[in-house]
Amino acid sequence: MIARISIQREDFDAAAEVAALSQDRAGIGAVATFTGLVRGDDGLTAMTLEHYPGMTEREIAAHVKEAEARWPILGATIVHRVGTLKPGARIVLVAVASSHRAAAFAACEFLMDYLKTRAPFWKLEQRGEDADWVAARASDDTAAERWR
């Protein structure tokens, strides 16, 4: 299976990523994608994402392998941005290719739940002069728990 994992400062083009994932691969009948954006609520002016280089890529690769063991997926692309982003900016892309939609949807959701609860990223929210680290949410842990 082909997996592309990229941690980058630059923006991404979801359509181009999906095209690259499915190009020249006749067995692919479905690509499920999730794009996460910076939500600009409560006066948020910027969000800064920090990560643990090395461990982040390892964690994501391990979860892609786990997704591969659970569902008949044919490819996966995960792009996660770091650095300072403005409201509305794209943060994360998860795209999963399979023969049929059920596996693609399920593996996409699985990877997103694990990205939120296991991959070492941290968000700092800025509202004008104030900056606060985002606290982990119990609802994200609950979402990841259901795959156990």
């Binding site: 990560h51 643990y52 939120k116 991959a119 990223f121 941290w122 680290w133 982990a136």
Partner: protein, 83 residues
């Protein structure tokens, strides 16, 4: 060994990494956290409540009872919030 700090742990200490000579009495990640807390200042603050902190050993999530060795890379950070 190499110690790494992320997010508010890094901010409170004013540094993201440091080299550390592992004392012989430090056996687990919890021992290490308590040893560092005893330095006081920002360290006391960062390691005040281990329920708020997570640890990784050699780039893998670990628990506070895990053994640490002299050539390990140990990272301390708050619960993750990516995605």
């Amino acid at each position: 060994m190499k110690l790494l700090y992320f997010a508010w742990a890094r901010q409170k200490l004013g540094k993201g990494e440091e080299e550390f000579e592992l004392p012989s009495e430090v056996e687990t990640a919890r021992d290490l956290a308590l040893h560092l807390a005893a330095r006081g200042g920002g360290y006391a603050d960062v390691f005040a409540d281990l329920n708020r902190l997570r640890v990784a050993i050699n780039q893998e999530h670990a628990n506070w009872n895990a053994r640490v060795a002299a050539d390990d890379e140990i990272a301390f950070f708050p619960p993750v919030t990516g995605g």
